[in-house]
Structure formats: structure tokens, C-alpha cells
Amino acid sequence: MRRAKLLLIGLAMLLILPTSGCGFKDIDKRFFVVAMGIDQGSTPSNYRVTLRLAIPTSQMESGETKTELESMEAPSIAEAVRHLKSLVDKELDFGHCRVILFGKSLIEEGVENPINWLSRRRDIQQVAFLGLAEPNAFQVLKLQPQSERYPGNALFLSFGSEGTESSYILTEYLFDWVRRQTETGKDGFLPIIRKDIDRNSYRVDRVAFTDKKKLRLCLTPAETQLFNISARRYDKSVIAIPFKGARIVLALSQVETHVSISHEDIPTVTLHLHASGFLEESPPNFLNGDIPKIENQLQTEFNGELQDLLYKIRNSEVDPYGFGLHYLAKYFGGSKEWKKWKEAYPEITFRVDSRIVIDKAGLVQ
């Protein structure tokens, strides 16, 4: 009886052995992909996949990291990745692929297939950062910045406020972008990544807007910062105006926004913005200057710039702010309301109502 029981337990143990999980592969037999680039191939139906692979060393020092760049062209991304495996000596691991770049020409054509592949693969992290590479992903990934302490970290640190916190850098995650691709009334944006002129670092200071299919608009750095403040409520940025021959620079410490949309035939979108901060630069001996007057001037200037930006975005028929979604949410919109909004969108008017407060002059007398 007891022996039979033991035998049964032994058999059960044997049965669970073949059900073991997803492949035992030691960490030193894996090749970590730190960044992935997808470009358009030499023919329009082909993709060119570029992988930046980390070669780890036990001692990590700045500028001494080693990476390997592999590139392959194939009619689909899956095929390209399968083919790339034959070029390397270890198993490719996308678990640490934190940055995914799309070439500009690819974005202009549409990225439906690459997104499809990225969302299906379970080893691609949904928190990966997305970016638009200019002129193409291969060129950008080829760059090896001097400051990299471990492979690929210069790109990771640029995004997500992990390293540098710049108001010119917008962070877009894969999951967010995929959602924006399918969400009614909200469009995606991508930071544009270029090589710096000195070829020693990346330059991320512009943003691109896409509609559901392809690229529609690229902003200038100044507009990018404005978009970051108004859409992402990014508070580590500045607002600057000329004042009595010098510049007054207000460093923001808090930004709040609130959108209201009227329910008319041609809706009016009002963007309320409340920002406060301290003066980082101002004319000398300014301590007791006329603060309300400066605040007023800042507000009018800011309102004008933001309004221009909103109209510019509207005219290129994208909606990265998500006004459409807001409208539908507010007025219980069905497909009828959405149709109406879509027809009215090229005509709608924007109003910006900002309140800018100078908390501190930034100096002690």
C-alpha cells in the first residue's frame, strides 16, 4: 500500500517534469538587445531591422562599453529577427530592449506591421521608449556616446526622467502609443532622435505627431517645450520674454491645466493653465520690480504662442492633446457626435486662458 503510494507520487513528479517553463538559458548565454531600430528597406515592402546588442563586462566604466550592431533586411520584422539570430553566437533576449526607434521614412509610410509585431511578442516590454529616428534608425544606433557607462544607457537615461530631465524631451511608451493608435479622438506623438552635430551624443529636442496612420507634423524645439508644458504639464521648464532690453526667464515649479469644450456647432476649446515659478533670470536690480505687470506680459505672450501652436496642430489634422476624446467623454458621444466633431475639427476655435504667478524673485536682498 505504502509502496504503491510512493510509486504514484514518483510518477506524478515525473509527469510534471516535461511541463517545465520557458527554456532554461543562463544569463551568460543570452545576448541582450538594448535598442532596436526599424527602418524601411531598400524596396518599400521590406523592413530593415537594426539591433544594438550589449557585450557585458564585469567592470563598467564610462566610454568603455562595447556594443555590437547587427542589421538585416527582410519582408517582415519576424523574419528579419529570425535571420539576425544566425549572425550572433548567443540567444537574442529582448527583455532589456528599452528603446525602439522608427526610421523617419517608415513613419511617413505607416507603422502598422511593426506595431503589430511589437505588441504580439511577449518578451518586448510594453514600457519600452519609442522614438522617431532621423534620418534613419540605423544611423542613430550606430552612434556610441562617450558617456555611456553600460551599453545603451545614454538612450535609456534620456527618457522617463531617469537621468536628464529636460523640457524638450517627451517620453512616449510603447503601451501608450499603441493605445493612442486605436483610441478615438486622441493621436500619438513621438520624440525625434537625431545625432548631435559633434557626433558624440544624441539630440532629442523635437516632437513628431502622427495620426492613426502616418506622420503629420514635426514641431520646432521651442514649440516642443510649449507642447510639453501644456499637454504633459511638465513643470521643469521655462517661459521667457524680452523685457526692457533683457530677458526675463520664469522657471516653472508647478503647472496645472484644465480643458473645457463648448457644445456648439463649431465648438470652442478653452485651455485653462495655471503655472507658478520663480525668476531665474531678470534685469539687474529687479528685486522690487512690478511683478503684476510682468505676470501680465508673460500671460499675453504665452497665450499668443500657445494659441498659435494649437492652430498649427489643428491645421495638420492631428489631435495629440486628445480634445476629441475629451469632447466625446463630456457629451456622452456616440458615433454621431464623433462624426460631428470630425467635421467641425478643422474649424474649431481655441482660447488659452493662462494664469502665471511669480512665486519668488529668486533672490534675497
Binding site: F24, I27, S58, H96
Partner: protein, 437 residues
């Protein structure tokens, strides 16, 4: 009488038998000199020899509590073995209690030391232990029930409890288990624990062993039962919960928030020591994306020279640390520090430089070893030590999800565990039972 006793102890040459004749009476006497002490001189020899007075001697026989009638010949052998002197006076049989009690020093606790708590531990003498307990928990309702266990050793043990607080059901269950005890030699409390534990409950201890009188007093006041064994430093306490094993007596004596922090540290240490080697295997070999990028690359780099898969690496290091722990228990104290130095410092360093294990594995091993010793109770600490191997085996086959499922299964097992009918993983118990008026 001498004839019969001699028959029973045929080869016991150290048995002393004689007929003492003082001219008035001829008294037969039998005892083991090694088991009896000097009391025999004042109690028997002097009144019988030069101070002899028949009337006074008879009075003494009746009034001295050390003298008792021993009319049943079947009991004689047993009495002699317990250190009694057997006498036959005027045709009647008496026993005189003269058992030797070695003078035992009460010394400091060795396995459950505290910083500022009481510095006394139980001894190997039952009477002194009872004194130590009465010193801390002296109430009229304290009940002591004597038992004898072990067919050869006939070790005496006390079941001690406060009858106002004790749960009668648990007491009954204990008696039932005590009846089942089948041992020839009962020499340590650990044997008793094994006998009292159900067969399928043997992974985690369900009976607490302690050498601290203050802990026993504390537990008695909570309605628990103590089993004290003659010849053992350790007292058994039951029923207990998992939290009692994680409880150091310092927790009662130190500052409130500090104690809370230390308790938290202890539980984290247990979780680490159980899961860390398994997590190392699971993360390194199945899911390296759980690490941050930096550490993934560092481990990747340091593992680059290691020829074996991660689980062999873990087994090498864990074997070394287990052997080291085992060696330091067996080694004499003077050589002990040498073993630690050789094992810990030199071997660890050398193993890493030789490329046998990665440097991260050295850290994992040390964390596991140190965390294991944070647990205040030795028995529980050993159970935890054993558990980690189960986790390692599962991690080898199933990776991180296996570890998670096994951890869940462990909690389920602990929830199902009972210590004498009381839930083992109960978070709350009613601590203040109402006293009958």
C-alpha cells in the same frame, strides 16, 4: 530481602548489600553507593549505630518524610535504581530517599541569549528547573503533573500548566500523545518533540523548545502547556504558532518601535533565506528582464567565466556553506574561528577568482547564511534551511513562476498546519482569557 534483590541484580557488582547488626537489631540494607549521597549517614547509619535508641528510631521511621513503607517486592528494584536505600527493620520494609543530586550551577543561556533580559537558563536538573520556573511564575493555580517515560531510562518529566488558563482539549490531546510515546531511552527534549509530533507535520516544528525560564513563564501566562524533562536543558512548549518561533525574548524588553523594526527585519530575512538562491537561479536562467539593466549586465559579465549552469553554481556554494555551518558546530571552540576564516573568506574569494562561481553568488550565499541565523529559534531555523532546497529544485525546473507558486503552496501548507489542534499560522489569538471569579 537481600536474597531477592541480589537475584534481580545478578551482575551489578556496584550494588551494596549488608546486614547491619548493632547488637539489638539486625537491619538488612541495600543500595547503590553511586546513586546515593551523604544523607544516608545522618538518616540511617548514625541513628542506627552509636546514637541508637529503638523508640526514637521507630518515631523517626514514622515521622521522617524520607522514610516510606516499601512492602511490594516488585517495586524494590525500581526504588533502588532511583537512588533509594532499602531497609528491612523488624521484619518491615522501608525505603529511604537518598538520591544524589549533583550541585548544578545555573548558567547563562547559550542558544537563546538576550542583551538585557534575564541571564538565566534552565539546567539539566528537573528540581532546579522547577525552582527557576517558580521564581518567575509562582501562583497557586500552577499545576505540575509527573510522568515517567522511556522503558529503560525511566526519565521523569513534568507537565506544567496554569489550570485556570489552560485549554482542557489541548491537555487531553497531549495526554493522548504521551500515552503513545514508545522510547527506550529518553535523553533529550528533541526526542520528545519527535514523539509528540504527528508524522505528517514534520517539516516545521509545532512544539517550541526553549531554555529560557522567562519564556516558559510568559507562555504559561498565555495558557500554554510546558513539558519539563529531567536531564534536559530544554523545556517543550505547546501549542505554538509560527510567530512564537520568530519571537525573541528581547522583544518583550526593548523599546516598542525598535522591536517592531527588528521583527520586520526577521521576517524579511526568512523570506530572503528561503527564496534568494531559488530566485537567483530563476532570474539568471529564466527571466533576466526582472533585474535592472545595470545589474543584468554586471551579472552577465561576472558569470561569463563560470563554466556550469546557475544551479550547479548554487549547489557548490550552498554545499560549502552548509558544510561550514556543520563544521563550526562540531569543532571545538578554539579551532572554530579558524574554520570560519578558512571557509568564509578564503574559499569564497578563491572560488570566485577561480571562476567556479560568480561574485553575485558569493553575496547571495552570505545573505542566505546570515539571514538564516537571524531566526531566534534553532529548530525553526533548520526547517527554513531545509525549505530553500525545495525552492531551488522547483526554480531549476519552472523558473520564477515556479518559485511564486511554491511560495503560495508553502503558505497554504502553513495555514493547514495545526499545533495540538490550534492553527499554526493564526495571526490573532485572544491573549487575555477571562479568569474565573
Amino acid at each position: 530481602m537481600i536474597e531477592e534483590i541480589r537475584n534481580e541484580f545478578k551482575n551489578a557488582t556496584d550494588l551494596f548489600t549488608n546486614v547491619l547488626d548493632n547488637g539489638f537489631w539486625a537491619v538488612e540494607i541495600a543500595y547503590f553507593p553511586s546513586l546515593c549521597d551523604e544523607k544516608i549517614k545522618d538518616g540511617v547509619l548514625v541513628p542506627l549505630s552509636y546514637r541508637f535508641d529503638p523508640d526514637e528510631f521507630r518515631r523517626m521511621l514514622n515521622s521522617n518524610p524520607k522514610y516510606e513503607h516499601a512492602d511490594d517486592p516488585k517495586e524494590w528494584a525500581n526504588l533502588i535504581l532511583k537512588g533509594y536505600v532499602l531497609l528491612k527493620i523488624e521484619g518491615k520494609h522501608f525505603s529511604f530517599k537518598s538520591d544524589r543530586t549533583p550541585v548544578t550551577q545555573i548558567d547563562a543561556p547559550t542558544v537563546e541569549s538576550t542583551l538585557q533580559g534575564p541571564q538565566t537558563a534552565f539546567t539539566e536538573d528537573l528540581n532546579i528547573n522547577m525552582f527557576l520556573l517558580r521564581l518567575r511564575y509562582n501562583v497557586p493555580s500552577l499545576t505540575v503533573e509527573p510522568f515517567d517515560k522511556g522503558t529503560l531510562s525511566r526519565t521523569s518529566l513534568f507537565v506544567v500548566y496554569d489550570h485556570r488558563l489552560v485549554n482542557a482539549k489541548i491537555l487531553k490531546a497531549l495526554y493522548k500523545q504521551l500515552d503513545k510515546v514508545k522510547l527506550d531511552l529518553l535523553q533529550s527534549s528533541g526526542q520528545m518533540v519527535k514523539q509528540l509530533t504527528e508524522k505528517n507535520h514534520r517539516v516545521f516544528p509545532t512544539i517550541l523548545q526553549t531554555e529560557r525560564p522567562d519564556r516558559v513563564a510568559d507562555m504559561l501566562s498565555k495558557g500554554k502547556i510546558a513539558v519539563m524533562l529531567n536531564g534536559s536543558r530544554f523545556v517543550l512548549l505547546l501549542p505554538v504558532r509560527l510567530y512564537d518561533f520568530m519571537h525573541a525574548m528581547d522583544d518583550e524588553y526593548e523599546a516598542f518601535w525598535m522591536v517592531r523594526l527588528l521583527i520586520l527585519v526577521r521576517y524579511i530575512a526568512v523570506a530572503l533565506t528561503i527564496t534568494l538562491p531559488a530566485l537567483y537561479i530563476a532570474i539568471v536562467s529564466y527571466n533576466p528582464e526582472i533585474f535592472r539593466v545595470q545589474i543584468a549586465f554586471t551579472i552577465d559579465g561576472s558569470r561569463a567565466g563560470v563554466p556550469y549552469p546557475s544551479f550547479i553554481e548554487v549547489f557548490i556554494m550552498l554545499f560549502m556553506i552548509e558544510a561550514l555551518i556543520e563544521a563550526s558546530i562540531r569543532l571545538p571552540r578554539i579551532v572554530g574561528s579558524t574554520a570560519t576564516t578558512v571557509g568564509g573568506l578564503i574559499l569564497g574569494q578563491a572560488a570566485q577568482q577561480a571562476g567556479l562561481v560568480s561574485s553575485i553568488m558569493i553575496i547571495v550565499t552570505s545573505v542566505v547564511a546570515i539571514s538564516n541565523f537571524v531566526i531566534p529559534n534553532t529548530t525553526f531555523s533548520q526547517s527554513v534551511r531545509l525549505m530553500k532546497y525545495l525552492f531551488i529544485i522547483i526554480a531549476m525546473i519552472y523558473g520564477i513562476s515556479g518559485v511564486a507558486v511554491l511560495f503560495f503552496a508553502l503558505i497554504v501548507y502553513l495555514c493547514g498546519l495545526r499545533s495540538f489542534g490550534e492553527p499554526y499560522l493564526a495571526l490573532f489569538t485572544n491573549e487575555t482569557k477571562e479568569l474565573p471569579k
